[in-house]
Symmetry: D2
């Protein structure tokens, strides 16, 4: 049993967002997925990350997804709800809404169109943190987002906002994670993303990982996490190798399309990504199936 009030840690799948052809959230499918993942031992759930297609959903859909996940989780593991906006006003409103819907924490993204100065970036996250008492995890993904959060801004944030305690960075630059830990004197706790090798991030002091692939290799991920926690680094590394191959396939085919395609193969009727994104094609399905078979996930 994971303490919701304690420090977040472990395997926290980035949930997909199952949407039907008319734009309605498929609540039953999402509920099944949540039940399945908790049964597999995951330590938390993060709806509305990149894999959750936050950039493709409207406010109403997002609220319904948070509500569904909170309800399905029934307090067994923390639910960290993604919020992403270009304006401070919209971000604050979404953070308050997530709290009202019962989320246990906020995963905060700054979207941008025009470049934003460092002060504006810090102001945005401070306003989100001030909007609710929930713990906040900053999420940076320089491959897809048009803003990044510099280390000086992170140093400012850990001092100004005691609830900003976590960062999930999807940059592929693992050294940046260690630099963040050092620069914030450990006050900014770090989660890996699917762009980092989890066992490396655990070794340097990370708390776990938030990642789409954990939806489809949950028990394998939990086992890897436990080996790391037990300090069995070389045994963990042997489990890591085939799991990393899975992360690489997803980088190749596009995150939402691939995780949704893989979940379909595993029997979850989550549907395709939202158009004009393309669903996983036949070649992709074959490659995903083969990778899942290697790790015993299908």
């Amino acid at each position: 049993m994971v303490s919701k009030g304690g420090e977040w840690h472990g395997v926290m799948p980035y949930l997909v967002s199952p949407i039907d052809e008319r734009g309605r959230v498929k609540r039953a499918v999402l509920t099944d997925l949540v039940e399945h993942l908790i049964g597999q031992g995951v330590h938390g759930l993060t709806p509305l990350g990149s894999t959750g297609e936050f950039a493709y959903l409207n406010r109403h859909q997002k609220a319904e997804i948070i509500a569904t996940v909170v309800e399905a989780a029934r307090g067994r593991v923390p639910v960290i709800a993604g919020i992403a906006a270009t304006t401070t006003g919209e971000a604050v409103a979404m953070a308050k809404e997530a709290e009202e819907l019962g989320a246990d924490g906020i995963l905060a993204v700054l979207e941008a169109y025009f470049p934003i100065a460092e002060d504006g970036v810090a102001d945005y996250f401070e306003a989100v943190a001030a909007a609710t008492p929930l713990p906040v995890c900053i999420y940076t993904n320089p491959n897809f987002q048009r803003s990044d959060v510099s280390i000086p801004v992170l140093k400012r944030l850990v001092r100004s906002s005691p609830t900003i305690r976590y960062i999930k960075d999807a940059s592929t630059n693992t050294g940046r994670l260690l630099s963040i830990m050092t620069a914030t004197e450990g006050r900014m706790k770090v989660f890996a993303a699917s762009a980092h090798i989890p066992v490396c991030v655990m070794l340097i002091g990370g708390l776990g990982w938030m990642a789409g692939p954990a939806c489809i290799v949950a028990p394998q991920s939990v086992e890897l996490y436990e080996l790391c926690r037990a300090g069995k680094w070389e045994e963990a590394m042997e489990k890591q190798r085939p799991l990393w191959a899975i992360n690489q396939i997803f980088a190749k085919y596009g995150l939402a399309a691939c995780i949704k395609g893989a979940l379909e193969l595993q029997g979850f009727d989550v549907g395709p990504p939202l158009a004009p994104q393309a669903p996983l094609d036949e070649a992709g399905r074959r490659e995903v199936r083969a990778a899942l078979e290697i790790v015993g996930a299908i």
Copy 2:
């Protein structure tokens, strides 16, 4: 008097979006600006472009801005309403809404988070075109948007969708405009953006320009356009030089912040850009004022 049904041409300012501290559209200010610009002789109006902060507004605010501009224009010049979305569904809904609100045309943007394949890009614009009988102008801005529209896609679109007739490209690559004209055999008509030198785009066969700076140097822009139309290229070039200096300042300070700041200097109470964007600072105001004085725009 501009014929609304004919081919678009000339100076079409990208309107700013005046929003008050509580997020409400400042309708009176926007109405005044529209009246002023039509009085200066502009040939059309484009609300909800980049300068119009489309990426920072919600659906309700956008609808109100379109309605306000349509009402204020009273059919004197065409109103080309910007729509921008990451999903086809949202884009189609916004295009229909713009038509219902009385817009004369659609300025269509594809936003993206994950990369989109060429087919998906074309599908998106074809769906927008099919949603209404209004003429469509594609808007590409590779500096700020996470998708671009390739020349092969444009060739497909002019064949598949007769209402897709215009492109406004903000790439800084003027040669790309000439390549588009050639590749589409002239069926894709071209408007310049503030990143191109208007007199050059006119010389190569462009119809005019859609740009934020035209809000603040409208009569000078109209005069430049008329000289180009009359084939007085060298005289046009002499007018062009100081106007180009204005475009360069706006590239330096950020479009929305600068055009809003300049309009404030000219007496329009449009307010600052939406947070966390920073308003024009004192040094910026001085530089903008100096540039406007040189061309007699203040």
Copy 3:
């Protein structure tokens, strides 16, 4: 007859560098090409630009190419020799050598591996200018070079170094050329590259163009230049359209490979680009031939 001592202007082909399989300069071929181009009316010659594969040749090969071109030109048109280095010392030595070999001017490139601060960039070009009394043209190509020259650096250079009088910019951003003219109050004269539409650069005040494609469409280029000089802008534009299509093909297939391939089609035995660059393949040859036929260049 072009005065060598006067201001450079007009069509200045970027010459290819014909090298045989054993690495020797094919002097006879290069001499023939020079004679041919002067006969077609070009206004100058620029060996060792991008098209001239400066980045693929050693010091000995470069010296032999400059010597060959100077000798073949026999003072009929100015020869502007490319020099490119990562160190100030090497650049200075190459500039002196070019002068000794009889070049009429220097085309100066700063190569880089690590990023260089603005002051270092300016120091480099000042040292080149101080090394010889020859006029200097700065050459910037942000697509291929790892350094760029900012407008503040150009402003410093026109003040500090009276012989730095020209810039050839290959950025595709035509507006940048106009900004350079304004910022340097006209003291930095501008040449276009194949990435710009020549007629546009002439209209904004450019002196001409330095470009690889001028090797293979020399008379057409000279005719275009003369129309621009005569102020016949619309007539020039009609000549410009098919010539632009040629520039676009070269962007597609790679400059050195394409110009060398096209010259082979025209009967000059210049050979392939240096390995591991690939020569023009069969499809490329067909496309180049078709484009040349349209403008009557084959």
Copy 4:
């Protein structure tokens, strides 16, 4: 004692290139540095990497540096000589020369100006490998080099060229290293660069690291390596933290300038980087000194 014939492993400093004001190699200084590093227990030496300013030196200087290092090393540790060229011909000549000068292996870089197709990239490295019987390490640094080596090309190379057995990748993307190991079924052995956390690369199966900072923290690096080899991962991680801070400073100030500046602080008269690169300034020197003091390296 390291077996020169066996598999390379361990800490292999990227040596700086001490050059005096007249462009001459400071042989005595370089000899002292080699003696010092071997005394500290390093496992190999790599002259003419990025830190060695290969991009700033001419052929004669490079040959003299290789000769000096080989002579100073006296066979105690392997000397892996960097070669870098844009043409296959130059690379082959340099590889042969390195062999003649007594190098034990080749560190091969492909420089580029125009983009190179995958086949050309593979051809280049195959030609280098065929030129000598020495083992070859491919070096990729996407931050500074204009070409990269894709995983499919690496798969081709390990099959076609048995002497291409190592890769040193400076991409910051640690996951890429694991992907390379998997894709080549372990036949391509991996060295870290200063952009990766060494302890992470060791955990995933790397052989060691080739990096500029190892010049100035050699005993600390060797100690870290030994802890990794002994499987004492958490102890290694504690040594890693302050050493990583040093790598970060060097990313901030520029590799050659910083390593040379730090070596000057440690008493080696290596001089500044070659102009127009700037030497470490006073603030940089203070920051470097402080970081060295923390790890006891000054």
